[in-house]
Amino acid sequence: MNRRHWTLLFASLALMFWSLTLTAQELIVNRATPHQPISRNSARLCFTMRLLSWENRLPVKVFVFPDNHPTHRQFTKSVLGLFPYQLRQVWDRQIFSGTGRAPVIVATEQEMIEQVAATPGGIGYVESGANHPQIRILEVR
């Protein structure tokens, strides 16, 4: 392999990586929630409905897509590190035993952004980017 090949390989790898980060799902929150990045464990607690309120005491209100939505499946796996069926099990156990709640289900990305923007304490996710003055993208570490 000569130098040109290496450059080409490197460039294509970089391009691949860049396109991957472009399609990575992003966790979004309402502007009224705390600013700091959150840990993966905290994100899991939010989406399993076990974190009840934010540090500033606003109630956590979770919005998700239906179970079989591609963005939901991807977000659950790559951002939360859970399998979609695990989330469903946790929610079902909570709502059918009275020990907890299930998130609000929204149908489209548009609706997701509007709901999170309109709900103080709201949290959700989008396929990529969300341009709305009431929404902030939160880094998951």
């Binding site: 993966r40 005491r57 859970l82 156990r93 709502i95 059918f96 009275g98």
Partner: protein, 393 residues
Amino acid sequence: MHRLLVAFFLMLGGFDAWAEDSFWDGLQVHGFASQAVIKTSDNRFFGDSPDTSFAFTEIGINASLPVSPQILLAGQLLSRRAGDLYDGAPALDYGLADLTFASSVEQRWGVRLGRIKNPLGLYNETRDVPFTHPGIFLPQVVYFDKIRNQLLSTDGLMLYGEWRGDQGAISFTAGGGQSVVDENAKWTYLPLSYRFEGEFKQKDPAALFSLWYATPNERFKFGLSGMALELQLHPGPGSPLNAGTVELFYGIASLQYNAEDWTLSAEYVYEPIEWRNILFPYTKATVESYYLQGTYRLRPELEALLRYEAYANPDDRDGTKTSAITGGLIPPFNTFSKIWTTGLRWDINQQWMMRAEYQRHHGTFILSARENPDFSELQEDWNLFAIQAAFRF
């Protein structure tokens, strides 16, 4: 006590902040309905199954309302028809107030008051909700449907706590109260005295606990849970029976591993029982049972099930002793059950689910005497086939 007071006032504070929204904004209503068709080669299970039974119907509706982030009110009405065991009369399945004293990323603790589903094993809390467990029927040697109410729920209080760290989460519940026992207990623990009048009730408050560990991604879960209960017979007028008691402890160890395409579950039950001053073939017995269960997701909406379960009395594995004591009235094979189950689940969409299941039984321990009062008609080896349709919202 000081801390409790502080927590209480903090909750009131939360209530104020919340009250700006409409009180009913957070109301969530969910429900489900299911219908099964059951056919067995012999022996009655959930109705006239040898002639095909439709008598397995479950309908539930629940609502939950967060009064504040720290107070959740929740209740569920359940109508359950299960052969001769349950007639479908609606009952309060649970109705509780959940008060969270402390909640953060690291921990949460609080108390539930009211009618609470017993947190026993992997499935007891949602045992009647078809979507929440593999198979149309739960493993009968562990979650006995013939005496379902012994484990079902408690009118009382339950403390709960959870600690979370990088290594996983530890959670517990502890509490007690009045166990919601029904007629089926009498048929199971006093199978030779059901002809006489009398009520079979809980004596002292039942005690419950559970302890769980789960890895942060919940791939692996391990739990120990249990319940101590004492039942007393109140003989009716003219009954020749004594006001004897049945004392028991139900302990269950649970293990589950979740991978992307498959889940492995295993549970083991240890249940010592003591009969005092009461008509029964023996005065002491220990239930020992377990199951191993694998589910495989062929596609996200298609799940295959394979399960083996077994129950035997360790002191009388082949049932000959029990049979001899009763002069052959109880056949030996009524003292054990070994069951193979295979099934397929299809989640058609978010609302609808279909299931089919085949079971191969050796022994009749899991059958209720209420549905099979004539022991001489029982068959040792039998088959079961069932299909189920379920809806949820």
